[in-house]
């Protein structure tokens, strides 16, 4: 039997799309939405595998997945997708993301941080759903909307907040800023300002993983790389070039599209000839999956399969998460173009409230426990702000440090010595 994701051409129901609409009227976009939000992905896959929609050509490839999920369902009923610890972990991570971003907005308007700050409110399910499944050695590559990816990957809130404040204790010594979060320790490879720029870097990290296994003979190296990017990026050449290379060499990478339907003021439908991004995966020979990105459990299910695939060496996967950002593109965006009805519709599907509902309904956690978590997160965020406030700003001597890894790159001065040997110039490099 063909493996689940080998040539998955499965799409969900055909959508009536109205390409002429300039605002996203909700009637024209119908995404698969099972009646019960938290049955996870089971219902979606089961729908397609039953020949209800006569996807006979496609059902072959989907069957394996739904088989797996079906088995899970039949083992014990009611089967829950997560344990209590996992549920609380997910909840805490999403609340941290939300609280942190809200605090960022506050701090921005108070003049503590400047420049372009892109907030992740509403999309927490994608970050938490994927990144919480990773090990520390796995890599994450993000875009400018990277605060929450950093937090989910394990970068301390203090480090992120002081980086935003431009202090020297930030994760990048204050040299990166909001759009360039890096962490060697947690294998967060950035933080890129240009869209699509990080995808080749992620492909390179996946290449290293494969290289380590096959050339350097580190047999247990199964590091996976996740590349997060948006719907606008999916019209960019680098995206397609990397899909090709990743599928060609079966690199251990998962391409995660956070389709929030809007690139600043450009609706995805106005910019893309075929708005179904997941369909672009099979064109390159990898499975393309569409998932409800407002539902952390569904995302987690899909992520498990995709990451598992990559770990086993079966190659890349393209996952399109339908999600939404509750705020504007950045804190400078007045967000006038989006229809309030659309915003309200997605606000009703807030991933945090949904998970909370699920946990409580399935007796995985009580209100009190969740409240404790929220309080704890508030304290963490407050502490982060305090720490960032009290941290020192970078000194003048830091300006030329870290330009080169080897400071001899500054060259030889007129006196015959390397410039970096001159104590007044710079030491050239500093330990983080």
């Amino acid at each position: 039997m063909a493996t689940a994701f080998s040539t998955a051409k499965f799409s969900t129901q055909p959508f009536p799309l109205n390409p002429t609409s300039t605002t996203s009227h909700d009637s024209s976009i119908v995404f698969a939405r099972p009646t019960s939000q938290f049955l996870g992905s089971t219902r979606k896959f089961r729908l397609t595998s039953s020949s209800k929609f006569n996807l006979s050509r496609r059902s072959k490839t989907v069957v394996a997945v739904s088989d797996v999920v079906k088995q899970k369902k039949s083992k014990s009923s009611p089967s829950l997708l997560i344990t209590k610890e996992e549920g609380l972990d997910l909840y805490e991570d999403m609340v941290l993301g939300r609280a942190f971003e809200d605090m960022c907005a506050q701090m921005y308007y108070r003049g503590k941080m400047f420049g372009f700050v892109h907030l992740y409110n509403g999309q927490e399910a994608v970050s938490t759903g994927f990144i919480k499944l990773l090990k520390q050695q796995d890599s994450v590559v993000s875009t400018y909307r990277d605060h929450v990816h950093a937090l989910s990957k394990g970068v301390p809130a203090r480090a992120v907040m002081s980086e935003l404040f431009g202090k020297t204790t930030g994760c990048c010594r204050g040299q990166g800023g909001s759009m360039h979060m890096f962490s060697r320790e947690h294998n967060l490879l950035g933080g890129f300002a240009f869209i699509g720029e990080g995808i080749p870097v992620a492909t390179g990290a996946a290449f290293t993983s494969k290289y380590k296994r096959e050339v350097l003979k580190e047999a247990d190296c199964d590091h996976v790389t996740l590349a997060f990017f948006g719907d606008g990026t999916c019209n960019n050449g680098q995206f397609f070039e990397c899909l090709n290379m990743a599928a060609l060499w079966k690199l251990p990478i998962v391409f995660v599209v956070e389709n929030n339907l809007w690139a600043i003021g450009m609706s995805h439908l106005r910019a893309t000839s075929d708005p179904h991004i997941y369909k672009k995966g099979p064109a390159f020979g990898m499975p393309g999956i569409h998932v409800d990105g407002m539902d952390v459990l569904k995302v987690r299910e899909v992520a498990k399969e995709a990451i598992g695939r990559a770990r086993r060496g079966e190659g890349p996967t393209l996952v399109e998460c339908e999600t939404y950002r509750f705020r504007g593109h950045s804190l400078a965006d007045p967000d006038e173009l989006r229809d309030p009805a659309e915003k309200a519709r997605y606000a009703a599907r807030d991933p945090i409230t949904a998970l909370k509902k699920y946990l409580i309904e399935n007796s995985l956690a009580s209100e009190a426990e969740l409240k404790t978590i929220e309080k704890k997160i508030d304290e963490v965020v407050e502490d982060a702000v305090e720490f960032a406030d009290e941290s020192p700003v970078p000194s003048r001597s830091q300006l030329l440090e870290n330009v080169f890894a080897d400071p001899k790159g500054f060259g030889i001065g007129p006196d015959g010595r390397y410039r970096c040997e001159d104590p007044k110039f710079t030491e050239g490099t500093a330990h983080v």
């Binding site: 890599s139 990048c172 720029e197 870097v201 390179g204 001899k408 500054f410 060259g411 007129p414």
Partner: protein, 410 residues
Amino acid sequence: MAAIFQGVGAAATLSSSPSNSFVPKKFLTSPRRSFSVRKVPSYVVVRSDGSVNFDLNSKSRRAQQLVANAVATKADSSAASSSSNPGHELLLFEALREGLEEEMERDPRVCVMGEDVGHYGGSYKVTKDLAKKFGDLRVLDTPIAENSFTGMGIGAAMTGLRPVVEGMNMGFLLLAFNQISNNCGMLHYTSGGQFTIPIVIRGPGGVGRQLGAEHSQRLESYFQSIPGIQMVACSTPYNAKGLMKAAIRSENPVILFEHVLLYNLKERIPDEDYICNLEEAEMVRPGEHVTILTYSRMRYHVMQAAKTLVNKGYDPEVIDIRSLKPFDLYTIGNSVKKTHRVLIVEECMRTGGIGASLTAAITENFNDYLDAPIMCLSSQDVPTPYAGTLEEWTVVQPAQIVTAVEQLCR
């Protein structure tokens, strides 16, 4: 093109024998040189009208030790090298390959990526047979996606490998400008020093033989502002191998500029392991009257002009700057302090080229030592035309160099 380079082999064997009638005796036994003339490397300059000039490339060759020192070693210290083992003769592209191969053997993390580097052996045969030896993953044939595979190289470098990215022609790397500028140069700084990017980006560039405008680009002028990268240009088999090895061993991202027309230069290089310092310039011909700064192919035009100049009684000091970013201000400065006149001969275009930056750097640092304004001979600000005659007039020719020196030394 093949016909021309077959001639090189013949010329090389001819000129290596001491009784070479093409050698102007005056040049060989010039009293100024304080080192003994050894077996001379030779090259052939073929003009576009088909006439062939043989010339000699008399220069000092330092036996570089692996320990790099900031100060450029003087010419006399190289005398020791002549008595040690004679070395082996090879062409420039073979020297590059040798350097690459040695580094790949030395460090298993070194890998090559580029178009046609694997099975094809490289469009200029720099990676010939390396794929057979090291495997398809270490010498990776990429699809035609410069931006993405350069970015892939950068991602691999961040995560522990030491990739050598080949642009089939330097001009193609314009497509990779996004990755080179934003990621290659900046990521070490933007990440606060957390990630190093020990990548080498190399490829042939420069004006060739009627290759047309887009295949004749000089990217060193476009890349020179990018903070965080180093740029070097090789010109002889000796420094090609040395710079290749040094670039691979360096923790900084290095862009190594090769020249399409120099790949078939033949020279005898040492057998032992050596590197050339990435930040140092090379003294080609010491002199007294005027400092001529040059790099890559223009070095040979300058040396040809030097022949004429010596005949006319001038004594030019020729320095191959090699390090395009950063400049070796020590060697250059010492030379300026000695001769007080500077002529820069480069293949970049006049506007915003390496020569322009070098002029600024020298003026800033050594203005007091100059007796005359710095002259800079560059290519015309013109897309390189196809026609042979027009192409000849686009780049600097030896006759123009002679005129410029005469003007400068008036």
